[in-house]
Structures are given as C-alpha cells and as structure tokens.
C-alpha cells in the first residue's frame, strides 16, 4: 500500500512588515462577513430543499494558494474541503496563470488530479472565483453546494453504489464561466443528466452568482489596504491560529494513543470493517496514522482523503479551542498518514456517496483515542451518519420526488454537561426541513418525531437521547434509502459512561406486517404505497459513572420521560415513584 503524507509547513520565521492590530481585526471581520454573504444569497434563492431548508452549503475565502482565510459555519465536512479541492485544481488543472477575471471553475469529481483530494462526492459541486488586484491573482472565493440530483442510478445518488460510475455525471475541473460568459454547452450536458433540471438550473446559477458577489468584497479590501498590508495581516492571522492551536496541542501529554472503530458493525455488506488509528503526540505536533485500516470496499462508504482530512481538522478544532479563528493555520501542526486504497483514502473507482459513515467514525475514533490523555477535552460517541430519504411518484405531478433529511440523533456527553438531545451530528450540520414543508411538496405524511426514551447512554452526564421518526409514504412505487450506524456496536461512553442505545429501522410498526430491516444501512428498500417507515436513531454515549449522577437530575429525566423508572433504578441506582416522581430510595 502506498502511504500518503501531506506535509504541512512549519511557520516560517522570516521578518515581515509589522501588522497593525486594528487593520488586521477589520480585515478578519470583513472576510467573515464576505463568506456569510455567499451562503445567505445561496440559501435564499435556492430551489432544492437540501439547500433552502437544510442549508447544505459552505463558503470559504481562500488565498491564491488555496489556503483557508475565513469561512461561514456550514457542514464542517464541506468547510474543510473547499481549500483542499482548490489546491488540487491549481496543481493539476488551472495553475495561477490560467485564471482570468470573471472565470468560475466548477468540479464535482472525487478523483480529479491524482488521489482523492478534490470534490467530496458527485452531488457536492465546488465553484471557485478568482480575485484579481492590479492584475495579480490574490484570492479566491469558494462555495460548495449539495445538489439534489446529478443523474446517478437512483435519485439523489441514494442506494448502494459499488463504483463511482454509478454515482452520477462527473465534471472534471472546468471553466463553467469563462471571463463572465457561461458555457451553455457544458450547462446543457449537466442539465440533461438530472432528473430535476429546473431545480438544478436554478441552484447552479445561484451558486455561480453567489460566489461572484463576494469576490467584490474581497477586492475592496485589497483596494483599501494594498497588497503588502493585506499579505502581512493574513500571514499573521494564519500564524496566530497556528500558534494558538500548537499551545493547545502542547497541553496533551506526549505519547502514542490508539483506538479502533467498526463501520457496518451489524454485518451489512460483509462488515464489520475496521478503522484503526494511532495518534502520535510530540511537542506541539500531532500525527494521525491510519495504518492498519481496512481496504476500501465495494460499497459507497469509502472516504476520499479530502473528507478524511476534513474530519480530522474538525475533530482537532473541537479538541483544541473553538474560539481560535478558523483558517489554514489551525491545520499546520497536523500530519496525516492515510494509506491509499483504504476506507480513509479511497482510490478510483471506489464509490463514495456515503463516505460520511466513515467520516463520523473518524471523529469518534479520534475522541476515543485521546480520551485517556485528555478526558476533559473529548466526549462520548455520537449517533453517527444517519440518512433517511424516500423517493416516490407524486400522484399530483406524476413525477418522482425525493424527501427526507440528514437525521439528527443523540450527541455524546462531555465533562461539563449532558449530551444534546436530537442534534445534527459532528461533521454534518444540516438543519432538518420543516415537516410542513415536506408534506406540502411530497407525497408523505409524518406520524411522529419525538425524543426516544432510554436511548441516551447513562453516565454522570447522560448522553443525548435519539429520536423516533415515523412517516407514511402516500406516493406510488416508493423506495427507501436508509443509512444508520451503530446498531450492534453501540455509541460508546467515556470516562466510565455507558453506551447509548443503537439505531434500527422498522417498516409498518405495530401492524401485522411489521418487519425490522436486517441491517441499519444498505441497498434501496422497495416499499409499497401506504407503508410506514420508523427510524429509531442512536443516542449519545454517557460521561462518567452513572451512579455519580445527581439523583435529582435522574428524577427530572424520569419526569420528562427521557429515562424510564426501570433504568433509573437499575443503572443509576435511584428508585423513583412512577406516579409522584419522588425519589423513594438510593441503591448506591
């Protein structure tokens, strides 16, 4: 196996012009504001529910070398890959001198360039717009957007692909807009290969337009402060984030920390497969070594290196200090060894649509590895990657439509507090769409969305509880796309906390035709009109021993219906009267 190491330069010590703290703060704020403007426009004009209600899009401002300068909080997996992809484009497709004012380069190809450090998966289109100042390329604005349908085997690229060629039309990096002119021919190819051309046309145009507007904002800063001052401020900004990240890393005891996490833990597709990690901490540097991780599989869960890096950067931002300004500097102390052709560094023609299964596990893997060294900086495992989408023919339009969501579940507990109930997990951070919006647009009726009792891992701090989500499909010829994790190997607690409950899927629950799906994840499930789908999402892992939990907090959980009387007695050692909810005894 070939080992891939991304060298991260150390901070150089070359003298440069003094940085005025006032100008720097103004520039930092302005760049963030520019990134925010990109996503605002995109969301407000979008057509697909994935963007307009779930806000699955992320903007970044990057320097001419693809280094991250500022970002707008979207799904972290996207934020951290926008720059990675740009670097590949600069290296393999459009070097700096190939860009012209008014160009917009687009790609969605996971395997563009060499390796898998480009787009994250086919539905995520990345676009980049150059910023020229006095004839020189100085920066880029970048925007990644999840598009609804790009012509894969199943709508929305759902289902169980085994190679990238089943995952929709691949667009190598190309100038979709050249010096301000849209390439109508390429656009025609793109729009011909989607089930939803109207949605796609609107959303691609909106994406191209949004990224151009912010370029004006960045240019205005260069006009005001000049090249030298901008450069000095930005260099210093990145150095500052690096310095602060290194200070935080230095607080972790030196050593080697190992951990392993299974994916497809219930045996789906021949699983479980293992992710293995060795974290080597030395001084202010961290090495993440995935040697020993299982090879990529014939299924869509393989992670390109781009998203593996993004998951690592995300976990590191969580473990260091969230208030450190997010930019390239945060990444410099980190080195990654990810053998090519494995689950964490996929090679063509691997299918990657559901790479988030691996990416979420990488976060739990890192937290688990470092739990021994810095228990106060990590958290219990969380619900992981959960998708719940159905596709059916809408009798009103006689067209196939897709509906559903990236499902929130229980989040792991931390040293200071219970885990969050029903929340977007780690590297995804999509909002759930309103039921009233889904039901208006799609042939479905929701029956239940509620917190799930006893699903949060017990602990001094309880893991967040998952949810129960049930809907009835009213459309014809329905297919269910189901992705859930941790149904057998449960979300682990930390520092003595217990695991959260796992996930499961039930069709037609409570009827004679009730059946439980064999695996939490897998191939498209053919259903019948009128069937119900019930999804029990996992809860988060607990933190600390359950019997250390304040009995009053146990009592309040029972009264709120988050913990059963039985669990309170058996696991927490707190006996509670089921009618008055008074504590009647302690067994500790």
């Amino acid at each position: 196996m070939i080992s891939t190491t991304l060298p991260m330069p150390e901070a150089d010590a070359v003298a440069r012009p003094a940085v005025d703290p006032v100008t720097q703060e103004i520039i930092r704020n302005a760049l963030r504001a520019a990134a925010r403007r990109i996503t605002r426009r995109m969301i407000r004009s979008a057509n697909s529910f994935i963007v307009k209600e779930m806000e699955d899009c992320s903007a970044s401002i990057l320097d001419a070398d693809g280094q991250l300068l500022a970002e707008e909080a979207g799904p972290p997996i996207q934020l951290n890959t926008v720059g990675i992809c740009l670097k590949t484009i600069l290296e393999h497709y459009f070097p700096k001198e190939a860009w012209q004012p008014g160009d917009v380069v687009l790609t969605n190809d996971t395997f563009a360039g060499s390796g898998s450090v480009a787009a994250t998966h086919g539905n995520d289109y990345l676009v980049f717009h150059p910023v020229f100042f006095e004839g020189e390329l100085v920066a880029f604005t970048g925007l990644m957007v999840h598009h609804l349908d790009i012509g894969a085997m199943h709508m929305g690229t759902r289902g169980w692909g085994t190679e990238i060629f089943q995952e929709g039309v691949r667009i190598p990096p190309l100038k979709l807009v050249e010096q301000g002119r849209l390439d109508e021919k390429v656009m025609a190819i793109i729009l011909t290969n989607t089930r939803t051309p109207e949605v796609h046309e609107n959303d691609v145009l909106s994406q191209l337009s949004s990224v151009q507007v912010a370029a004006e904002d960045v240019l205005a800063l260069y006009r005001k402060y000049g090249r030298a001052t901008m450069q000095a401020c930005l260099d210093d900004l990145l150095d500052y984030s690096e310095r602060r990240t290194r200070e935080q890393i230095a607080l972790i005891p030196d050593g080697t920390y190992s951990h392993a996490e299974p994916v497809l833990d219930d045996g789906a597709c021949g699983g479980p497969y293992w992710l293995r990690l060795k974290v080597v901490k030395s001084g202010s540097n961290l090495l993440f070594d995935f040697t020993g991780t299982d090879p990529q599989i014939k299924g869509p869960i393989n992670s390109p290196l781009a998203t593996t890096l993004a998951a690592i950067y995300y976990a590191m931002r969580c473990i260091t200090a969230a208030e450190i300004p997010s930019n390239e500097g945060c990444k410099r102390p980190i080195r990654v060894e990810a053998p090519a052709g494995t689950l964490v560094n996929a090679r063509s023609p691997a299918a990657v649509m559901q790479r988030m299964v691996v990416c979420h596990s990488i976060v739990d893997l890192i937290m688990g590895a470092l739990a021994e060294a810095v228990p106060e900086r990590v958290m219990g495992d969380s619900c992981g990657c959960l998708y719940n989408y159905s596709m059916a023919i809408d009798p009103r339009s006689n067209r196939r439509v897709m509906f559903g969501e990236v499902v929130p579940g229980g989040i792991g507990a931390t040293v200071g507090a219970d885990g969050i109930n029903v929340m977007a997990c780690h590297v995804t951070n999509c909002r759930i769409p309103p039921i009233e919006a889904i039901e208006t647009e799609s042939p479905v009726r929701y029956l239940r969305r509620e917190l799930r009792e006893d699903s949060g891992g017990a602990g001094r701090n309880r893991g967040g509880v998952g949810q129960v989500l049930t809907y009835r499909i009213l459309g014809d010829d329905p297919h269910l796309h189901h992705t859930s994790q941790k149904s057998v190997s449960l979300p682990q607690g930390t520092s003595g906390g217990l695991p959260g409950d796992g996930g499961r899927w039930v069709i037609n629950e409570g009827t004679p035709e009730e059946r439980r799906l064999a695996y939490a994840i897998g191939e498209i499930e053919q259903l019948r009109q009128g069937d119900t789908v019930t999804h029990y999402t996992p809860g988060g892992g607990g933190y600390g021993a359950p019997k250390e939990r304040d009995p009053e907090r146990v009592r309040a959980d029972v009264e709120a219906g988050l913990v059963s009387v039985e669990t309170a007695a058996a696991i927490y050692g707190v006996r509670i009267d089921p009618v008055s909810y008074a504590i009647v005894g302690l067994d500790r």
Binding site: E53, M423, C430, P434, Y446, L447, R448, R449
Partner: protein, 692 residues
Amino acid sequence: MTGDSTAGPRPPVAIGVDTGGTHTDLVLFDRDRLVTLKVPSTPDDLTRGIAAGIGEILGQTGVTADAVERFVYATTYVTNLIVEGQSSRIGLITTHGFRDVLEIGRASRKPHIYDIHWRPAPPLVPRKLRRTVRERIAPDGEVLEPLDEAETRAALAALAAEGCEAIAVTFLHAYANPAHERRVAELAQEVCPEVEVSISSDVVREFREFERTSTTVANAFIKRSLQSHLGTLRRELDRGGVSAPAYVMRGNGGVSTFASAAGVPVALAHSGPMGGIIGGTTLAKACGLSDIITLDMGGTSADISLVSGGTPVLTGKSHIGPYPLLIPMLDLVTIGAGGGSIAWLERGEKLRVGPRSAGSVPGPACYGQGGEAATVTDCNLIAGRLNPGYFLAGARRLDTDRARTVLWERIAEPLGLTLEAAALGVIAISEAQMADAMRLVSVDRGIDPRDFTLVAFGAAGPLHAIALAEALSMRRVLIPPAPGNLSATGLILADIRHDLVRTIVSDLAGAERDRLVSVLGELLHDAEAALAAERVAADRRVLLYSADLRYQGQNYELNLPITPDLLAEDRTATLAERFHEQHRIAYGYHLASRPIQIVNLRVTALGVMPPIVWPRQPPSGGAAAPSEHRHVLLPDGTAREVPIDRFVTMRSGQRLGGPALIEYPGSTLFVPPEWSVEFDDMLNARAERGTF
C-alpha cells in the same frame, strides 16, 4: 409632507414615550412645538418613570394633561421578559406524535460547530409541560383526523393542575385550517377559564412548524405580564389626568391600541427600535429624501435599517434572544456595537471590540462607577470627541484620566501602541463592524448605498456617522435636531398599522386567478374591520397591497407592491417582468421561462396620522462662531485644535467645515476633515463630502 399642510385635520397633541433599560425618552408635540425630555428609567416598574416623565414634560411645556389627545408607547419590556427568562409558567399542546417540536427545532449547531461544550438554549416550555392530542390536518387544510376532545380536555386540565398560567397550542398545518386550534381555545374556556391560551393560527399564519411554535410559545410566555403592564400604564395615565387614547408601537413600525396589541403581545418584540426607523423616514421625507439608511446607535447596540423609496422594508423572520419569531417587523440589522462596547485582547494579543457591553452599570471607565473595561465611549473621550463637561448636557461628568488609565493598562501598553493609536483603533474596529452591517442591508440586497443618505441618531450615532458614510462611499449624512430623541419622535409620527397576510400558493399565470381575487377581497374586508376596531376615520384609511413571489420551487419570496388590477389576466405579465427584474437585482440571475408563484397576498392597513408641522426657522446664514477649541484626534492619527460648537447656538443656514464638533444636549456630531455641514431650516445638520 411639508409644513404648509393647511388642508386636512390638525395633528393631535401627542406624547411619545420610549423606554429603554437606562433612560426613558419623551417627546411632546403641540401644534408647532416639539419638546423632548430624557429621564431615568425605573426598571422595577417602568410605569413609575413614565408617569414622572409625563408630569415633568407637561410641567415644562405648560400643556395640561387633558389637552393631550394621543399617547404612544414603545418599549423593550417584551424583549427583556424573554431574554431574562422571567415570566409565567406555560404549557404547550401539539399534535399527537410531535411533543418535542419546540425542543428539536431545526437541530443545527450553527454557528457553534466546533464547540463541543455548547448547548442549545433550553426551550421556554419544559418537556413535562408539553402534551399532545390526537388530531391531524393536511397541508391543504383538509381534516384527516378530528380533534379528540376528551383528550384535549384532559391535557388542558393536567396543564392547569401543573400551575400553568398560559397554554400555547400549535397543530401541524393549522395555518391552513385553524379549526382545531380554535376548538381547543373554546374548550379551555370551559376547562380552565383562568388560563390564557395562545393558538398559533392567531399569532402567525405561516408554515414551518418549529418557528411558528416558537413564536406562539413566546406569545403565551409574555401575554399575562404584558397585559398587566399595559393595564398599569393605562391606570397611571388616567391618574395623571391623561385620558387620551393610548397606543403602543409594534415590530411592524405601526401602532395599535393597547387592547389590540395585548392580543398578540409577541408583535411588540421589536417595539424599541421601530420609532427610530419611522422617525428617520418621516423626517427624511420632510427634507425631500426617500432613500436612506438609518443608524440608531446607543450604549449597547446599533440598529441599522435601509429605507428605499420612502418605505421601510417589512420582513417576517427575526429572533428574540435565541428563539426564532415569525412576526412582521421592519427589516433591520442589530449588532452589538454601542458606546458601551468593550475593547479587549484575545489572549493578550489580538484586539477585539464587543459584543459585550459595559451597559450603564458599571458603564464605561470614564463614568467613574467602577467600570474597569475600556469602551468605545472612553476612546471617544480620549480622542477629544466627547466633552467631559457636557455629556448629556452636563448631567454626567466624565473622568478622562480614568479612561486613559484603563485604556493604557488594558489595551495600549500590552499591544505596544500609543494611547492615541489604541483609542483610534478601537473606534475604527467598531466603525468597521457597523460598516459591515450597513453592507448587509444594502450591497447584500443588490442596493448601491452611494446614492443613499445616512440618517444617524441615538446618543452615539452622530459621532460615527460620517466615518461610516465614508466607508460605504455615501455622500450625504443627516443628523436630526434632537438625535437622542428621534426614536421617541417617531412614535408620535407613526401610523396605526395592521399587516394582514394570506398564504395562497398559486401560479401567477395559472387558472386560480379568481381565487386570488376573492382572497384579496377577504383581506380587504379584514383590513377595514381592523381599522374600524381602532376607530380610524374613513378618510384616514389607506390600504397597501403587495404579493410575495418566487420561482416555483424556491422557499424564500421577494415582496413586490401590487395594485389589485395586476392580478387580472392581461396584467400578470407586467408583474412577472417586475419579479424577474427584482430577482436579478437580489440574486444576480433570473429565469425568464420559469413559472412564477404567488405565495402570499398582503394588505397593509394604515390609519394615517395627519402630517405634523415640523418647526422651522427662517435662514439667518453665516458661519458659526465656535464657543471653544479642543485638542481632537483625527482619523489619520494626527491631532488638531478643533472648533467646538453647541447645537443650541446653531441657526438655519449656518455652515461649518470639518474638522469640527457640534455638541447636542444628548449627543455629539463629529465632522472630520473633507466634510462640511449646513443647518437647514428644521435645524437638521446636513453633512456632505467636500468643503464650502
């Protein structure tokens, strides 16, 4: 709207009162007099301070209490109730299966994505007080499952037994058919008549169940407290002999009677800043200006709003604390940049300003009340732009030495900056934050701010206004004659206003045009009824129509003014053209062949106030004779002896060139070099780039 309105009714003698956390601003208008007053607020019971202020302003002007014909009130009371989390214990009833809609929300960690210790704000209703009942309505309003009345009675009784003073009710798709929610309200009358009930279809008739629930719950949360507050205020007014009709400012920039406002108290959530937008807009109109950006900067925050064509923009989405609200409000951006904003060093090395504020207690270091943080006000004082002896017209003495000591110790020395550079730096960062917010309301919406006039007020607005105009390449700035009281002035100028909306998703070019016309007819009927309930005379009634349009498939709409005839078959193409154009301006592209949907029809029902006669004086002209000079730091870092003028000595037609300072009783205008100011006949300071 100028002073020569001889026709039409005389505007009423009116008192406007705007209460904030520290000060209560009053304005009295009497024929051709506009008198302002600032008194301390009495946070334990705001009505005491208001009553005292009214007594004082009546005494000052010699107007008798019974001569007052109109009383208008704006308040941050509602916002404070929710942000401080102190109000009634409430219950929530939702559709069976959806007990947790309020807690799950949209399940997003934005913007705290990297902070594993962040937790969402606890819902205003804890889980044990959230109940469900069987019922179900479809998106088109069809009843799929009837309301289970036995279960409903049981839920109401249980919540009442738990001690709930108010109950919110939100059923799925109740915006399309409110029958079930209304029935719950009826049953509550039988089961627990002592409990206040808020139903979502009364509070906000729009889709998105979480946001609608959040709004309804907030409404229930404050209903009783607000009713009691307005009741107390009414009694205080009566006791002081003011028997005039009393109105309160709502978030939509219009006023309504106490009785009408108390029905939907959450509509008062953004009452505070609206007076400023209305005051700025009306004043600008009187000056012949219709395209303005208003900046209202006080101690803790700055409110920025864009007014194009003389009409403030209405929006439907906002927040109160961490909780989303769907209520009509005038669009504004609020940022935590005020005079009290604290300058601090992140890790001892990176200079940041705000969003924390020193408030009024302990306040900026220069207040000498124990404040240990350097604030924007301290920096303005050090820069010589504030007069330590004439702050609030001398009501508070400022301690310059204290400000210098704190700024030196906290900021300048650790950064290796001179005191002067640190002071100017803090001011510059604060101004850059406001400039970013001004771009958000203009450039971000496809509007070029360069041809707009910045109307700046609030105690701190005029200090920074011209620098902000420069930052956005705006050429004109207008400072009203009483910048500290424009918000209160706006209250007595505000019309009675009701915003009515019906969601009716329909193709613009489609066959449902008859339905559109009939829905518009219903809206008209309701609008007339609302105005009649407020006793608005027929000749003061104005109805404005608009439609929310979008391309098929979008979820956010653009609002376009319409006339009813545009819904006629042969006119929809005109409306479509306008929409394409608006979309291109807002988002940079349009889709000429894409179907356009009408989503909402809106009618704004106004009870228009007779225009007031702005006090004017004949021009006397000439250059100002400065009362003194002071050493002032200019934006380029140099210092100069700058002439200081008192506003009270200014006359119509007088001109000044920058650099200059003009000291108002409650504010200070800083005119940097390259700008000049002329006072018009209403004593507005009209600043323009360039010298005379």
